[in-house]
């Protein structure tokens, strides 16, 4: 049985028992039941698993548990819920910014990191920030619009 590891996720402490090289993504999804972050590639190439670690957007599929321990991890679940969606999430709903939606939570988390450091990003800055988030459905233009809408609402 591996030693317990303490994680700070969405403001709460959690103790999990998993090997230190376990991808953070699996711990979030399977131990903590936070299913928002998705497995897309396991190689840090697609962004479906994006979370925030100490405010930076990081791919959780190739972040080992040991590297996440002791840091502040934020997942999409911290931004709001189905009953009470947060500003970013409301903007995605308002813009109908999804087709299959598999990339969406990763895009939302990248956007959260972007808007925290740049409350008024240009379209180009939004695109650059999302350079590591893949979307296969071609929903990009709506995803960008949703982030612009959220930025406006956050500034208001």
């Amino acid at each position: 049985m591996p030693d317990p590891v303490t994680l700070n996720v969405n403001g709460a402490q959690h103790t999990v028992r998993a090997e230190p090289d376990t991808p953070l993504l699996y711990v979030l999804r399977n131990d903590l039941k936070l299913k928002g972050a998705k497995f897309g590639c396991g190689l840090g190439q697609c962004g479906a698993c994006m979370v925030l670690i100490d405010g930076h957007n990081v791919m959780s599929c190739d972040t080992p548990l040991w590297a996440a321990a002791g840091k502040a991890i934020t997942t999409i679940e911290a931004l709001g819920s189905l009953d009470a969606p947060g500003v970013l999430q409301r903007a995605f709903i308002a813009e109908q910014a999804a087709q299959c939606g598999y990339c969406v939570s990763g895009v939302v988390m990248t956007a959260a990191a972007l808007l925290a450091r740049n409350p008024d990003p240009s379209e180009t800055e939004i695109k650059e920030a999302l350079a590591r988030n893949l979307c296969r459905c071609g929903t990009h233009v709506r995803l960008i619009r949703a982030i612009q809408r959220a930025a406006r609402e956050l500034r208001a």
């Binding site: 399977n30 928002g36 998705k38 087709q99 939004i126 459905c137 071609g138």
Partner: protein
């Protein structure tokens, strides 16, 4: 006895009204559809149709989709047929249900039925005093009967829900990370499975040390059955590690592939083929006017569906009963196939649809469902979730087929097309599971072919032209050509596994037709828009071409300064479905990229305008990605495309402005919108490249290497 009357769409095969809807005690209505959500918004559109015909608010409708125990069998959710087949069935079923309820209310209220109105499920006369709700009537008994389709659905002028951009039912969960996907399902005691696929299609497992894998932490089962290997573990990361260990413990004997990616098109043209004459129309008097003739050859590589989320399924096998949760596009067809593989009667298998990542056609969804069942069988009673790893999906999904299209045409002295011919070479475009009877046991599922006692591959199919066509989809031109000949050459040998990818043959055929039209316009010294309109009689086709050109600010004869360009292309999907024209603007620094896409779309009556626009935007961006970047790479040994680095797709910084202009025709039949953009966008980019640089690239993708070579 005469045959039962033909009913609209999939009502014909699912004739009981009770199969389509049920009234619940909480004053809601459960509506059952065999069509499933694959990111295209169709379940929301079905809810709109049902609410419209029943005169209830959308909030009262609960949707159940794709379930072998609960919903109608409407075949696959594919081919942009859902609104046509499923939507028409839903309309007639709900219109008839409303009628029956009204009849009953009429006798109870003692008011003639034609004097009754329905408002959010409450039936009343004009006095609004005597009233009854649907839920107070004996609805279950009334719906337990065969549909007649004798009740006409509402005319579009009275629509208040259909035709509005109702918000998608699934988006709030997806925007908040709420569990919704099959990947997110969890059952008590669930284990995690992974598969180890062979290194290449025909590889044989010669040695495998299963014990080395069984000793690893958390491993519950290691399954080896012929060339099929799978592992089951308590934790997901343990399953992933066990998969790596199992791959190292397996030794394979490989068989070379008959071609590589560079040689595939010559290979296709060198095979014995089964040929089909698709169009033959001759007018010798017109062809006699020909003074100049032209020929060209266009190619499309294998293209991956490349779903963002690798395919996933959850299965439980208990006392000879199998239950599967899957993002398959056809739960009944998957069940039929699995029954054959497992030697079980279909009624022992329950298949539930749960959403997956966008598939754009037949990806690994069905295959992974069988993988999950085979692994669940090894841990009887315990549910097993299997998700493919990225390389499983890239290397084993059935790709959109490589194709070759040759065109030939002649112009008269005025620059009119007086002769037109097109020939195409391709594999069949469907390897999906299906329920069509066969003389021997067959399967379309990957693992079935690899078992010790293998099940033969179901022969590759190709949808007939009467069903919209497969390889020859959109091979006839929509233009008016007095002389036209189209021949499809079907290649039986399949170097790579292929199946349906968004648009099927339309992508390559429209790429060829719309590139060639542009070449002919150049030869005729004509403007590409004017040249198209000159040869087009269909008013709706003309309307989308004119609207796209106008919205894009198209200027006839505008020359390029060599750093940018613009091109147009058009198609009527399946030659009988929606119309789409698109103007593409490109830039060239540092590489060919699209700066703007302006599309005009006519899919008849728009059920959900925003849904149509969303699908069209997606289709445009995906097709830009196909055109600029995508091809599955393989050498003579194996597929070498395994990761996103091997298969780059369009990224956010590369995404252009996209504008979609919808022509809504409420009195025309509603048509699907998911697949129209592919062919027109590919051709419009190639046409824009020619406008900018004067070079014609006829092979996809339009890479820097090809452009450089053409300029040299």
């Amino acid at each position: 006895m005469s045959a039962p009357a033909r009913l609209p769409g999939s009502l014909n095969a699912n004739r009981r009204l009770a199969q389509w809807l049920r009234f619940n005690p909480d004053q809601t209505i459960t509506v059952y559809t065999g069509k499933v959500e694959i990111g295209q918004g169709v379940v929301t559109a079905m809810a709109q149709i049902a609410a419209e015909e029943l005169d209830v608010s959308l909030a009262r409708v609960r949707m159940v989709s794709g379930d072998t125990a609960l919903t109608p069998d409407e075949g696959h959710t594919s081919g942009s047929r859902s609104i046509d087949e499923g939507g028409s069935a839903m309309r007639y079923a709900c219109a008839e249900a409303r009628h029956l309820l009204l009849q009953e209310a009429s006798s109870r209220l003692d008011i003639p039925a034609d004097k009754l109105t329905v408002e959010d499920g409450v039936i009343s006369g004009f006095d609004r005093i005597r009233k009854l709700s649907y839920w107070e009537l004996p609805h279950a008994g009334l719906l337990d009967r065969e549909a007649t389709a004798a009740i006409k659905p509402k005319p579009s002028a009275r629509h208040t829900i259909v035709g509005t951009s109702a918000a998608r039912l699934d988006i709030p969960a997806k925007a908040t990370g709420t569990p919704r996907f099959v990947h997110d399902l969890e059952l008590p005691g669930m284990l995690f499975g992974r598969v180890v696929r062979p290194p290449s299609y025909a590889a044989r497992l010669t040695a495998f040390d299963a014990d080395a894998v069984r000793k690893l932490p958390g491993v519950v089962a290691v399954v080896r059955d012929g060339n099929f290997i799978g592992v089951v573990a308590t934790r997901e990361e343990q399953a992933v590690k066990a998969r790596q260990a199992a791959a190292s413990a397996a030794h394979w004997e490989e068989t070379p592939l008959p071609a590589d990616d560079a040689g595939i098109h010559d290979y296709l043209q060198s095979r014995q083929t089964r040929d089909q004459l698709i169009v033959e129309r001759t007018d010798p008097a017109v062809s006699a006017r020909a003074t100049r003739s032209f020929e060209a050859r266009y190619t499309k590589p294998y293209i991956a569906h490349a779903s963002l989320g690798p395919s996933c399924a959850l299965a439980r096998v208990d006392n000879g009963r199998v239950e599967v949760w899957t993002h398959s596009q056809g739960v009944f067809q998957l069940r039929h196939d699995m029954a054959a593989v497992l030697g079980l009667p279909p009624e022992k298998i329950l298949v539930h649809h749960a959403e997956g990542a966008g598939c754009y056609g037949h990806n690994g969804a069905d295959d992974v469902a069988l993988d999950a069942v085979l692994l669940a069988r090894a841990v009887a009673g315990r549910p097993v979730q299997v998700q493919w790893m990225r390389d499983d999906e890239f290397a084993w999904e059935p790709y959109g087929p490589a194709m070759v299209v040759k065109t030939r045409a002649a112009l008269d002295p005025q620059g009119n097309i007086v002769d037109w011919a097109l020939e195409l070479w391709s594999n069949g475009h469907s390897g999906r599971p299906n329920s069509a009877p066969t003389t021997h046991r067959v399967s379309s599922l990957l693992a079935a072919w690899h078992l010790e006692d293998p099940v033969a591959k179901r022969p590759q199919a190709d949808p007939p032209m009467s069903g919209g066509g497969g390889m020859a989809r959109n091979s006839p031109a929509t233009y008016h050509f007095p002389n036209e000949r189209v021949v499809a050459h079907r290649v039986e040998e399949m170097p790579l596994r292929v199946s349906a990818l968004r648009g099927l043959g339309a992508t390559a055929n429209v790429f060829a037709i719309e590139s060639f039209i542009d070449e002919l316009a150049v030869a005729a010294g004509a403007d590409p828009v004017e040249f198209r309109l000159r040869h087009m009689q269909d008013a709706r086709a003309r309307a989308v071409i004119e609207l796209a050109a106008q919205q894009a600010g198209w200027r006839a004869g505008a020359a390029s300064d060599g750093t940018s360009g613009r091109g147009i292309a058009f198609a009527q999907y399946k030659n009988g479905y929606g119309y789409l024209a698109v103007v593409i603007e490109i830039g060239l620094e540092p590489d060919l990229h699209v700066t703007r896409a302006v599309a005009a779309v006519d899919v008849g009556q728009a059920i959900n305008p925003d849904g149509i626009i969303n699908q069209t935007e997606g289709g445009i961006i995906q097709a830009i990605s196909w055109t600029l970047k995508e091809q599955v790479r393989f050498d003579r040994a194996r597929v070498v495309t395994r990761t996103w680095e091997d298969y780059p797709i369009l990224t956010f910084p590369e995404v252009p402005r996209v504008e979609v202009h919808l022509i809504n025709r409420p009195d025309e039949a509603p048509l699907g919108a998911g697949e129209m953009a592919g062919g027109p966008v590919t051709a419009a980019i190639a046409n824009a490249l020619h406008h900018a640089l004067g070079v014609r690239i006829r092979d996809l993708p339009l890479t820097r290497e090809r452009i450089t070579a053409a300029l040299a």
